[in-house]
């Protein structure tokens, strides 16, 4: 697996979009993999009591998918320096989230790029927006 070199990328470069089907399995297993045992992420009756149709994705899974989206592109030698995420509409089963991103800035001192990332689901729109800062060789 190759890793992009800092010199080879430029502001405005787009990352390959990633489509993620949102399933009850991804939501509940993602919550447990991040050790988030809040019932609304694995118990449908609790989520319905909150007015949602089903369990909804926890913030640490959204964050994980954002991180994965960027390292899928950068390659494994890249070193993550920071991650910011702002949550919008919930992800619930039956949706598809499309993650897209583009290089917004380069920092020569750190050899890092800031990738602005958005994840939109096909029903309610913006699920997450934010940025990942990652240092390249």
């Amino acid at each position: 697996m190759n890793t992009f070199n800092y010199a080879d990328v430029k502001v405005g470069d787009k990352l390959p979009a990633l489509e993620i089907p949102i399933t009850a399995s991804l939501i509940s297993c993602g919550a447990l993999a991040t050790r988030d045992f809040e019932p609304c992420h694995h118990d449908k009756s609790v989520a319905q009591g909150m007015g949602l149709t089903d369990v909804f994705m926890n913030i640490l899974t959204s964050q994980a998918l954002m991180a994965r989206f960027v390292t899928d592109w950068s390659g494994p030698e890249a070193v993550m320096k920071g991650l910011k995420v702002k949550l919008g509409a919930p992800n619930v089963p039956g949706m598809t989230m499309t993650v897209s991103g583009e290089i917004a800035a380069k920092d020569d001192a750190e050899n890092s790029v800031t990738v602005e990332v958005t994840g939109e689901n096909n029903i309610w729109g913006m699920h997450m927006s934010g940025s990942v800062r990652i240092a390249l060789p």
């Binding site: 991804l26 297993c29 913030i59 991650l83 913006m126």
Partner: protein, 326 residues
């Protein structure tokens, strides 16, 4: 809440600012380990060999596997107790219960900002020290009325090395009554539609006609001046007697914007919103569709059609007149 009650509530609430969430740095129950990393990677679909492929990692720059940096906050989580018995008391739980007792029982994580300084590797112990860093003034949002609070956490390893920091923002709010009384049911996700048109005594007639495919323009019966949007009195002669004519929907673009962000559920993109000069002499705000956004220009001749834009909404949509675009 009366103003006095609100003051008493806030006086107590803001005493939580600066409080430590744990009495001592909280150590993750398990050290960073390959089993939890593998589970996380599998679920997230993350095939990064830096996390799970020790053979690859041995030959990499790092020389060993690492934990996904985004797992930083997972290591110190409480675990299943949260579901089975409820979250054990700590500084944050105490504040959350204080919010809940005063009706601010809704809870929504809104932002997480993490900075990473050192990559954690299998065998590392992770310690978390957290404080309640700030609480906003009372805010009114689409979710309801409430307060944003932000926690600030520092993560260190067994050598006391700072591996990362985190700001986590949560909105605590009074949940809308309907959500509390009407739990959602199983069923297909309701596909959102456009914002519902407000229909009051002065404009219901206009929207009802739109539903039937007609765009009407209000006309003063006294001085014949046309006006739009609908209102009860003529701006020219102050007569409240009126009737209407039907627009031919011939027009031209007076001004327009393309809405990029935020994207609203239920709207189709690209979304061009234009102020349109109608041939009758009034203006209307509507979408321009049927061409590339880059081809739309001020003065472009357009022709409207009333269309069903979603299962619940009829609206005029304006198309370029042949030869007018580009």
């Amino acid at each position: 809440m009366t103003p006095e009650e609100k003051k008493a509530f806030e006086d107590e609430l803001y005493t939580y600012v600066g409080k430590a969430i744990y009495s001592a740095p909280r150590k993750g129950y398990d050290d960073v380990n390959t089993a939890m990393i593998r589970q996380w990677s599998e679920v997230m679909g993350d095939k990064n060999p830096a996390y799970n492929d020790s053979e690859w990692a041995a030959k990499s720059q790092r020389g060993h596997t690492i934990a996904p940096p985004a797992m930083m906050y997972a290591w110190t989580q409480e675990g299943y107790k949260v579901a089975s018995e409820g979250r054990p008391a700590d500084g944050q739980v105490e504040m959350v219960q204080f919010f809940d007792r005063h009706g601010f029982s809704g809870s929504l994580g809104t932002n997480v900002d993490q900075e990473y300084f050192v990559e954690a590797k299998p065998g590392d112990s992770i310690f978390e020290e957290s404080i309640i860093d700030s609480i906003s003034e009372q805010k009114s949002t689409a979710r309801g009325i409430g307060y944003f609070f932000e926690t600030y956490a520092k993560f260190t390893n067994q050598d006391g090395v700072l591996i990362g920091t985190q700001r986590f923002r949560v909105f605590k709010f009074i949940p809308p009554v309907e959500a509390a009384t009407a739990p959602a049911q199983d069923g297909a996700l309701e596909v959102p539609t456009r914002a519902v048109s407000p229909r009051g005594q002065d404009n219901k007639w206009w929207w009802d006609a739109c539903d039937e495919g007609k765009i009407l323009i209000q006309r003063c019966q006294n001085c014949q001046t046309l006006r739009h949007p609908p209102r009860p009195m003529c701006g020219e002669c102050q007569s409240t007697e009126w009737d209407s004519i039907e627009s031919t929907l011939d027009g031209e673009v007076y001004s327009f914007v393309e809405m990029h962000h935020p994207k609203f559920p239920g709207y189709q993109y690209p979304l061009v919103v234009a102020v349109i000069d109608l041939a009758e002499g009034t203006r209307i705000i509507a979408n321009v569709v049927g061409c590339e956004v880059k081809d739309i220009h001020i003065g472009m001749k357009i022709k409207g059609k009333v269309e069903q834009v979603d299962p619940k909404t009829m609206l005029p949509q304006f198309y370029p007149v042949a030869g007018s675009a580009a």
